[in-house]
Symmetry: C2
Subunit: 214 residues, 2 copies
Amino acid sequence: MKLFSYFRSSAAFRVRIALNLKGLSPPTEFVHLRRGEQSGSAYLAQNPQGLVPALTLEDGTVLGQSLAIMEYLDEVQPLPRLLPTDPPGRARVRSLAMLCACDIHPLQNLRVLNRLREAHKLDEQTANGWAAHWNEVGLKAYEDSITGNRHTGTCSHGDQPTIADACLIPQVFSAQRFKVDLSRYPTVMRVHEHCMKLPAFERAQPTRQPDAEP
Amino acid sequence: MKLFSYFRSSAAFRVRIALNLKGLSPPTEFVHLRRGEQSGSAYLAQNPQGLVPALTLEDGTVLGQSLAIMEYLDEVQPLPRLLPTDPPGRARVRSLAMLCACDIHPLQNLRVLNRLREAHKLDEQTANGWAAHWNEVGLKAYEDSITGNRHTGTCSHGDQPTIADACLIPQVFSAQRFKVDLSRYPTVMRVHEHCMKLPAFERAQPTRQPDAEP
């Protein structure tokens, strides 16, 4: 296995959490998103999706998409589990993960903010406001989905971290960058604080990566 | 089981395909997205994510997120399979599905186009251009991921439909609405034409739904 990562990518952050939870530390190649290395021919030849993260699989293929990578890790090395074993529980965890991965993160990542600024002439503040808006809508939906739900524990689902937490915690980091008032999501923040005490999450955060920049 | 659907929702279209492939036809409640019913208190009380589709599960909970629903269906009724059995194959299929579900669809759905028009004053043509752009970027990535790949068959992965095809075909419908030149993606269109000959796909399309409007 080899991981393609970038310190500030939320999606790479998810996979770093999952790898840490599994006790895996594959060699990592850094792809500098702000320099556009993900769109260079060398990277595209390996991952035609042109995004980070990616993982080289056992058969040599390069796999994109953070959730597909986490599901793969859970299939090839089942313990500790990143998903519960009961189908409704697995469905709930995937639904929470995808709330972050489909409905928040894609709307506020680097390429989308670049497009808003460059093609549609949004100024920096307005583009950041766009990003904050989708974080707010999504984190409210996440909060309402876990608050008072009998399956919520110290983590989003029970007391063991799952792919839902691996998606939520990087999203909270993003929301902080866009100056979202996180006090409105107390259950989300309780889970966040719990997870960030776990080494697998703490060591995965952007500032702790070898390619981190100020 | 009960499905919450809207004829024009690409994400609901995916789940309709999956249900048809499984030979399931649960009762359906229609949620009118253009009238904002997904944001009404009655719907939010059932699905706090406030999006369509959703599926009522065996334990009474209402599950959001089309991919989580399709994975659930594949776990509780394994045949015919919507995912291959080998982990690298499952990973490839999920990665293709998520390319549509994370990197194309969320950027061009109704709520995002509404936000661009209402909060950022993009005119209709410019907003549609935004939607076309992300369809083009994503479908090129999909095309480059399946063209010449030894795992591609008459479908995106082998010759049996998977969740990748259940995501791709509704995305092609969206791209057509935004007037994307689809001749640039010949492998995508070959898969699309094959799938649309299958009753499970044909019957799931927007115009064939009871709530369809002109």
